[in-house]
């Protein structure tokens, strides 16, 4: 597998295929399907300081080659994660990226400090881009100054590699990315979902109780790829590409655009083995082309 190994900053991953936060639970639900430890890593469901029940139904809706979700960051909370989930992930040898979110810088820091005390967390991913909660991270993610502030605060509190997940809803996403880089981020994950909406014509009401939901899936892919391309040309820290990746070919597109690693998201809903298939496909491709994953990074940029 060394053909597939990549470095995201100081963090070495056995391969560039990760699963996206919110689409892969806590990585413990897949025992019947494949060995999750084979992946480059998993990003956990977004963790908050206290457990959260989430939004009322309907929370999800299918849209053309895509879906909307407004789960509302339902999660067990960082404490239960550390006590009940993390030991099992550690035992299985899974590379764990803890996705965390909060409505204040203080809470971001508190969650980071709690995770710092545990073995088995390999990186933090700051969710400053969830569109589905009223006081979630997205306000941080739209404003370069706020994004830098929360990044710097967590940077100071934690020695773990720090990834910041970008919102496509930022007015100037390159400015947010540069601000996070300057504030000490080790990598940027791009992109989170973008808000969408659908209305039930018969009921004459929005289908989602939250009215809007995060738009994800294959239909989002060209937008995500364009943003990855833009960011890869603007910052010198690694980019983790995400947005509608369903097959190994999609993954290669993101690598060629300049992503160092990728995350498989919504595709895992359609097929729980999607990330494993992306990984196997990428392995065969690199073998056939006598190349490495790292060598593909940015190769389409000329």
């Amino acid at each position: 597998m060394s053909r597939l190994a990549v470095k995201v900053g100081a963090l070495e991953l056995r391969n560039p295929v990760l699963t996206a936060s919110g689409t892969f639970g806590y990585g413990l639900e897949y025992d019947d399907f494949f060995d999750v430890a084979e992946l480059g890593g998993i990003c956990t469901k977004g963790l908050s300081l206290a457990p959260r029940a989430g939004n009322p139904p309907e929370r999800i809706c299918e849209t053309p080659a895509s879906m909307l979700n407004a789960i509302g960051l339902a999660n067990v909370g960082v404490e239960a994660f550390c006590r009940e989930k993390l030991p099992k992930l550690r035992e299985r040898g899974v590379t764990v990226v803890a996705n965390i979110f909060a409505s204040s810088t203080e809470d971001f820091v508190a969650i980071a400090e709690r995770l710092e005390a545990e073995a088995g967390v390999h990186a933090l991913e700051l969710n400053v881009s969830c569109p589905n909660v009223s006081h979630g991270g997205i306000e941080f993610g739209k404003d370069p100054r706020l994004a830098a502030q929360v990044t710097a605060a967590v940077r100071k509190a934690s020695k773990l590699p720090l990834w910041v997940k970008m919102s496509p809803e930022a007015g100037d996403i390159v400015a947010v990315a540069k601000a996070c880089e300057d504030a000490g981020a080790d990598a940027l994950t791009a992109i989170n979902t973008i808000r969408g909406m659908t209305i039930d014509v018969d009921a004459e009401r929005p289908r989602l109780a939250n009215r809007t939901g995060g738009f994800s899936g294959p239909a989002l892919r060209p937008i995500a790829l364009r943003i990855v391309w833009d960011l890869a040309g603007a910052v010198s820290i690694p980019i983790i590409g995400i947005g509608g990746i369903s097959t190994w070919r999609d993954a290669v597109e993101f690598l060629l655009a300049g992503a160092t690693a990728i995350q498989v998201g919504t595709a895992s809903f359609a097929d729980p083995c999607a990330a494993k298939k992306v990984l196997d496909g990428l392995a065969s491709y690199c073998e056939k082309k006598s190349t490495t994953a790292a060598a593909l990074v940015g190769r389409a940029r000329g």
Binding site: G25, P57, I60, G217, F269
Partner: protein, 257 residues
């Protein structure tokens, strides 16, 4: 432990019941142990990027050739309704919590609404195998909304209701249920939410146990997407995929459902 698996299996046959209802039977080649009340996530293996998500379907039958009953409501079920034998489908199952075993000394009453009859026929077959002939009440808007009524009739002492009176008693399942509900009864119901809420209400009033099989939109089917909550009676949520689809009706706050 359940041997749940994701596999690709060809459609063995499709039987149409009017325009709106179809029974799809798949050739899985081995028995994965689906019990009455379990569900399966179904998606055409060649659908590409759309429809994107698999559809949660209760098993109508299990074994090596499991079947589902579909009602055409959207793009996914439209594609299923046109599928020809041999077409590959991706099946992820068996999933969820099946029907609980009827209590000792209790007389099961099955209450079905439209396409919700599927998991109840599977249950009735299991009861028949154990020498029991339960009472069943089957309701639909019109006589066209009672797919597989003949099959249910062969397994149960069947009462039919239609809202327009085109078959059986004119009215709703609840109109008949009230009269049939003895103290030793135990109700198993699947159908539209409003029907199940009314059935659950009657059972609660009469202090009779009631088990429901719920249906919600769902992306994954195994507890990851968290897209399938129902308001629970403790003020939070229960998830249809891992805490259901079959559960005690009292776990759901029907006033918020």
């Amino acid at each position: 432990m359940l041997a749940r698996a994701q596999l690709t299996a060809p459609l063995l046959r499709r039987e149409s019941i009017g325009d709106a209802y179809h029974v799809l039977t798949f050739d899985v080649g081995k028995d994965l142990g689906a019990a009455p009340g379990h569900f399966v996530m179904v998606r055409g293996a060649e659908w590409g990027d759309a429809p994107l998500l698999p559809r949660p379907m209760s098993y109508l039958g299990g074994g090596a050739t499991p079947s589902i009953l579909i009602k055409v409501v959207g793009e996914g079920t439209t594609r299923m309704a046109r599928a020809e034998p041999g077409e590959p489908f991706s099946l992820l199952g068996p999933l969820g919590v099946p029907w609980r075993a009827p209590g000792a000394g209790r007389r099961p009453i099955l209450v079905a609404g439209g396409v919700g009859v599927a998991p109840l026929i599977f249950l009735a077959r299991a009861l028949a195998a154990g020498g029991k002939k339960p009472v069943a009440i089957y309701g639909g808007r019109t006589k066209k909304d009672l797919p597989l009524d003949d099959e249910l009739s062969a397994l149960c002492e069947l009462h039919v209701t239609t809202e327009d009176g085109s078959r059986g008693t004119a009215g709703r399942v609840t109109d008949v249920l009230d009269g049939l509900l003895a103290e030793d009864a135990e109700v198993f119901t699947c159908g539209p939410d409003r029907m199940m809420a009314a059935v659950a209400g009657i059972c609660a009033r009469r202090d009779v146990p009631c088990e429901v099989s719920v249906e919600t939109p769902m992306a994954c089917g195994y507890g990851v997407c968290l897209g399938c909550p129902l308001p629970s009676s403790d003020g939070g949520y229960v998830y249809a995929c891992t805490q259901g689809p079959c559960m005690d009706a009292r776990r759901i706050d029907w006033s918020r459902a």
